[in-house]
């Protein structure tokens, strides 16, 4: 049965007590602006020669107070802020936030809306993993991979731009629906992207999968045991890389994921190489889901019909009809009126489980909105994983974790 844990800090303290017998330790500051720390993560390392004896991550350089801001605006006004959490997969964040608030409002969105959300969440996963793989490659010295993945990501961003009007800050979902329907012919272009993407993905992964240098840098490095991964609250590919087959899309289906067939890849040893393999396979599975969703793309409404108190009425109705004008005015000034209650929803995002804990006391503004960010939880295991690794391994470990500080610091 599970045991109580001792802290790596305690191990470090014990090591410090024995320091009289040891040669002098060197402290090394890595970040906050270091190319391999992917943003503004800072690591305070203590080194014995080239071996890390203590690692203390310093986070918070990108803290913007998103949770405080959320308490001061209406539910729909917060959608653009979710873009800036995991800014490599804004569409997935939009979807997760919308579903969380819809659970509070007890709204069911129609099948077309669900299908669009599944497609954009999976495309966001592909684009996030492409970026993660490319950056991982650069971290360990494989530059070419980045050129391939960035080209593919660019094609995805063209599709996002066509759909949402923005490449990066998409703000596409609304509570109870979407900002707009998909443009004419868009699903066909997504399908075409998927078809040409698969061979390129194979070509890209072939650059790394049996690459001797890449294997030397990643295999057996940064090994995380299954039990530790769960105890530290790891989620997403980082947890599955350790051999835990947990995928909320499969195990706690939301937003219509139960209709699609896909496999959940898991790792065997929990090292950096397994985390890489998981991400590669997840992209293939995402393509599978997208193609299924497009093959049976439903017609009908793309917003919940009973979201009248939440969703802005059509623009022509606002300009011509008194009742719709009043409703629009109330929505803008007071926000959609939500019932009081507490809701916690986690979505399987590219980085892991992105959770929203919404506490409502009624009215148009959340009383408290807690964002459970997967990157924050994933990074909390760093003090344990980094101890005993070489300095160059830290770069591999950080690359394989694929974190985003915008989400970690909120």
């Amino acid at each position: 049965m599970a045991t109580d844990y001792t802290f790596p800090e305690n191990a470090a303290k014990a090591a410090a007590a024995a320091q009289e017998l040891q040669p002098e330790r060197m402290s090394l500051n890595m970040g906050p602006s270091h190319p391999s720390t992917h943003g503004v993560l800072r690591l305070q390392l203590e080194l014995d020669g080239e071996v890390v004896t203590r690692a203390d991550p310093v986070v918070g350089y990108l803290h913007r107070g998103d949770e405080k801001i959320a308490e001061n605006m209406t539910y729909n006004q917060f959608v653009p802020y979710t873009d800036r959490l995991d800014y490599l997969a804004p569409l997935a964040n939009n979807v997760a936030y919308a579903i969380a608030v819809e659970r509070l409002a007890k709204l069911e969105v129609p099948p077309r809306c669900q299908a669009i959300r599944v497609i954009i969440a999976e495309l966001a996963r592909i684009s996030s993993h492409l970026m993660g793989l490319g950056a991982f490659g650069i971290d360990v010295g494989a530059w070419t991979v980045f050129l391939y993945t960035f080209t593919e990501r660019e094609k995805l961003y063209k599709l996002f731009e066509e759909l949402t009007g923005a490449r990066f800050t998409t703000s596409y979902t609304r509570i109870g629906g979407l900002a707009r329907d998909v443009p004419e012919g868009w699903t066909g272009r997504v399908n075409a992207f998927c078809d040409q993407f698969l061979p390129i993905l194979e070509e890209t992964l072939a650059l790394l999968t049996r690459n001797k240098i890449f294997l030397d840098r990643t295999a057996g490095i940064g090994v995380i045991a299954k039990e530790d991964a769960i105890a530290y609250g790891l989620t997403g590919p980082n947890l599955r890389g350790c051999g835990v087959p947990l995928d909320l899309r499969k195990d706690r289906p939301y937003g219509g994921y139960e209709q699609y067939e896909f496999d959940v890849p898991v790792g065997a040893t929990g090292d950096c190489y397994d985390r890489y393999l998981c991400r590669g396979e997840e992209m293939r599975q995402s393509v599978r889901i997208v193609k299924q969703a497009i093959a049976r793309f439903p017609g009908g409404d793309w917003f919940a019909p009973d979201a009248r108190r939440i969703f802005a009425p059509p623009k022509d109705k606002i300009l011509t009809s008194m009742e719709e004008l009043i409703q629009n005015f109330m929505l803008v000034s007071e926000g959609p009126q939500m019932p009081p209650g507490e809701v916690y929803f986690e979505a399987e995002n590219p980085k892991g489980a992105l959770g929203f804990f919404v506490v409502s006391r009624g009215g148009g503004v959340p009383w408290r909105l807690k964002i459970r960010s997967p990157s924050f939880c994933n990074l909390s295991i760093l003090p344990k994983v980094c101890v005993g690794a070489m300095v160059a391994d830290i770069v591999s470990i950080l690359g394989s974790f694929d974190f985003v500080m915008g989400e970690c610091d909120r």
Binding site: Y5, L246, E346, K370, L379
Partner: protein, 208 residues
């Protein structure tokens, strides 16, 4: 070991001091602060809730007693279900809650964040420092009385502050927040800036 779905039903029998908490989704319980660790340990070891998904706090505002509530969200990696636990901090002036970092090392950072944002102490925590704000920051920003714009503070780097005389200044939200209260006269409920006496271009008048 009991299945996670049964554990939620068994919990009130096992711990009579546990009461149901209103919830719109997962089973939720209120627990006394003193029993928090025992209940969490039982849920982890016997109930199958092996993953601490989230740990956070709610500030009820200065008018409410008990004011601070700590909330745990547990997840079962085998039963794939969630459970919400909440415990009120007994003291409003110096809120405290026993640490869960002995049960889940992942609670370490979550509790640091709750301390950072709400000022709730976690006795027994191995390293209770601020995590998102810098060391030495004097306020707890997610408390309800903390203004959205922020408050004047010293710069984190004392040497830079001395050389430049710069301070951390509040960021006016261009007069926001722009949310109207639902009740009151029309004049009060019009969408308007709550404090228009200062903007980014115009200094905040001294309160004196």
């Amino acid at each position: 070991m009991t299945a996670p779905t049964d554990a939620a039903a068994l919990l009130p029998e096992k711990f009579p001091q546990v009461t149901a908490r209103p919830s719109l989704d997962w089973p939720a319980f209120n627990i006394p602060a003193g029993d928090a660790v025992a209940v969490l340990r039982w849920l982890r070891d016997e109930g199958g809730f092996d993953l601490l998904a989230d740990l956070t706090a709610i500030d009820g505002g200065a008018a409410q007693t008990p004011r601070f509530t700590v909330v745990w969200h547990l997840f079962s990696t085998t039963g794939h279900t969630y459970l919400r636990l909440a415990a009120d901090c007994p003291d409003d002036a110096e809120p405290a809650m026993p640490t869960a970092s002995g049960l889940w090392p992942g609670a370490n950072w979550h509790e640091r964040e709750v301390y950072d944002m709400f000022g709730i102490q976690f006795p027994g925590h191995p390293d209770l420092r601020r995590i998102l704000m810098w060391d030495g920051y004097p306020y707890f920003p997610l408390r309800k009385e903390f203004p959205l714009a922020g408050l004047d503070t010293e710069l984190p780097g004392a040497d830079v502050a001395e050389e430049t005389g710069a301070k951390v200044k509040p960021a006016p939200y261009m007069g926001g927040p722009f949310v109207a209260p639902r009740s009151g006269t029309l004049e009060e409920s019009e969408p308007r800036a709550r404090d228009q006496s200062w903007t980014e271009r115009q200094e905040k008048p001294d309160k004196a």
